[in-house]
Symmetry: D2
Subunit: 281 residues, 4 copies
């Protein structure tokens, strides 16, 4: 069963479904965090089913594919969390980024907030505007931090600041992430790491420059576009900028859920997803 329900509803339904022996892919945030204590701060309620958090597999196949085949409960990642984690985790895993704080500055189309009958999400309010929201308190922040910590086992979680913005477009997320290059590593190491990843991952596309990553190349597909650049002799030597883009409704939600389903059932991972084409090539 796919649950595309509010977290509060998932909290009720997931245990019932699991008790029946039904495998579940939950698209809400209800089972994404391992640390139950974070729910009060970021979601506004105490987690009543904390026992299930350890059991849930975080459904980001590019990082956690191995656990999926036997998973009873998959917590499908948030759309921002997918973009930022796929921008940073591969480089962290390769040891290419210096220790120190990370910044993820991201912008999402309006459907990232779901389908809402509110004045706030009306055309008249959103058109021609751009703004940050939930600054320093968005619930995807600990989700991203947890994922990044998982690829650097044995180290403390890195400080992370995540700022989401609301774009006047329907679909698509673009995340611009800031880190520092590890001493001894080079720009070629970064782009090489992304190229290697792209060759083995069907839904990751590496492009040479952050300027080439765009919503239009990914909206309508299950693809993530990635690019990294290093400031070598400019205004902040050692600075790394990594940009990621994806469609919040596909790789950031339903497409990723299908990808997870395929893995849970032992089907080809790209089944039903490979023919999706960008709307505006």
């Amino acid at each position: 069963v796919f649950l595309a329900t509010p977290a509060e509803t998932s909290l009720e339904r997931v245990p019932q479904l699991l008790a029946q022996g039904t495998r579940v892919i939950d698209l809400s945030g209800a089972f994404r965090l391992k640390d139950a204590g974070l729910y009060a701060r970021y979601y506004g309620w105490e987690h009543r089913r904390a026992g299930l958090l350890g059991q849930a597999v975080y459904g980001l196949p590019e990082l956690f594919r191995r656990g999926m085949e036997n998973a009873q409960l998959v917590a499908n990642p948030g759309c921002y969390a997918t973009a930022v984690a796929l921008a940073l985790a591969p480089l962290l895993a390769q040891g290419l980024l210096d220790e120190g704080a990370l910044v993820a500055d991201a912008a999402s189309g309006v459907t990232g907030a779901g389908r809402k009958a509110t004045e706030e999400y009306s055309f008249a309010e959103l058109a021609d505007d751009f703004r940050a929201y939930r600054t320093l308190r968005h619930q995807h922040t600990p989700e991203i931090q947890q994922t990044l910590a998982a690829v650097e086992p044995g180290k403390p979680a890195r400080p992370l600041t995540f700022t989401p913005h609301l774009l006047p477009v329907r679909r698509g997320i673009l995340a611009t992430c800031y880190a520092r290059l590890r001493r001894g590593a080079s720009a070629a190491d970064l782009t090489g790491a992304l190229d290697v990843l792209a060759r083995s991952e069907p839904f990751i596309q590496a492009v040479p420059s952050p300027d080439q990553v765009s919503l239009r190349a990914v909206v309508g597909t299950n693809r993530v576009q990635l690019a990294a650049a290093v400031d070598e002799t400019g205004s902040d030597p050692g600075r790394v900028v990594i940009v990621a883009a994806l469609d919040n409704l596909l790789k950031g939600a339903a497409g990723q859920a299908v990808q997870n389903l395929n893995l849970m059932l032992g089907l080809p991972e790209t089944l039903g997803l490979e023919h999706l084409q960008p709307f505006a090539p």
Copy 2:
């Protein structure tokens, strides 16, 4: 004379006008940087009139008002540079930010690039899209760095990374800036500093939260909206996020030029600018 010409044209015309005894407000980048050596890197040409760089007053009145009354040549700031400098300089000047690198992640409406008959700026290419451009090499980067250094005299220029993005809207810039709080300073110090500034500056509006800063509150006006927040006990304690918004055609260009004109002529600084209202209140 106002020059709203390409930098190459301003390089020719400004010396001629000055030689005639005409005072000039130049909206191009030709005379904004003090260090002539940066032009090759960021503008692509050697500066042939480097002797005038020292004479030009950088026309950001909130920081450099004093020099304007007698200025013969005012270099009107770039739109991004105005937004980022007004976000960061007041807090730097108050000593509220820890030493260390700064990040400015900004997004601009399409008119920020001027009026261009290119496929790249056509509606069909830009609508529904969002992307970074000139990553790690935008010419406003050294301009911002120079302004920030000016408010911390005696210290080395801080490392700065600036990433501009292109928004599918006509007007407006929003900059989300990242710094760290100086040990001993508090969130109240930050918001207090912005409030004090807003009380004395006619075109600066401080709002309580970064989430309240938006293009729609400033487009159509000469106003800059500012807000700052501190991560106190979250995912990156000590992190400061400051958001600024302005209309790239007004406070980021023509409006600021009029503000500078008023100062050059000893007129009330807000003359001709105070009745401007946001398009979408």
Copy 3:
């Protein structure tokens, strides 16, 4: 008192205010139609205050300015109705249009529907779309027909078809109207009539070609742009096309209400309205 309330609320409040001796400008449709019987068909309810319909002055100053000075109740016109009436009535009044049916095909920005917290008016539903709505049953149809009949006294009301469409923009209405040229009249008569009108009316601007009428020239102002063209030897000789544009929030609502207020109080008609400038010149 200005009432910008639902028609049902105006029906309650207007009689109370008039009874207190308060003069009212009502922006709803509650008192716009003279024929009470039309309310059931177009508004869905029987008119309980039909006695006031005769007393209300229809607040379209360019056509009915004379009655305004002593009016106790002004029914401020609908936004579509203003655009279509000002496109057609001046030419009808001059006897330049052949008898026969009229068509008004119009498109409005989203604010024409007011501020609504509905899924239907959300950004995600409206962006990138265009559609007709209330085809053959929009409540402004009898309002337009009534106005046009008023400038051809003694003749039966002309058949009129009005089709509104919803544009993915915030503000502005453009109406493209179809009629036939009276035998003996010429294209020069049409454009001459619009030019004469524009010279005497402060808020009417006549432009040479329908292709020059656009939302961007009027949004942000209380202005109506008008142009007419005749098919002389093409695919439908004698066809007249008249295009009108206005800002639905100003000349189509609040601006017109202020214009009416000025007339009711004997003030200069343009007071408070003349400085309004287009947002995107």
Copy 4:
């Protein structure tokens, strides 16, 4: 060979290709009109290859499928022409519309004009705007008139007025067409005719009301949506409104070209087109 070239280029290349025995689908207007004399008026040049006009099959399969199998030269219809012809021709062919003039008021996304590096088509000019263009002189007018005449053989061509407008969206055309019901015919006859058509035509979808026809239901597909309504007892009894929508890049251009290719080669008509899905269902 598909030619997606300016008409002037097609005029050169088509005869060369035909002389080589190559079958051609030409997406320009160069061979669409049967009456060579119309080119001077609507295209601005004398037709130098008028001898080929009689040979070209007009590639609107729903009306002219029969000639396609042996066609050497297919003139692929214009995007507006496809929408308007499919709105009106089926009802004319069934004898359901009264004699008399027709009006087609249509709006197109920006890609309808092709890919152009002009200031006129820049984002800054088109966003938030709406306007008519080529009023009473658009080159699709005689193309539509010719198609409609072909389904009423033996009758004179009907007067037709066509007004295109430019929408601030990338893709999609919506045409609102005005006619009169033939005495004795009913609304049910109209909707019945469209339903019958939709059952036999793979790319035509009939919906109950003109209000349900929208860009979003067709963009991304080779589909045409159609609906008709009759004013029975309202402000213009007997008025018929028919609304059609299609994607100007697919059914209005490339999709229709593939449909024609399939017919020319005796392949299933929907080959390569049936899996296309709307972008925003």
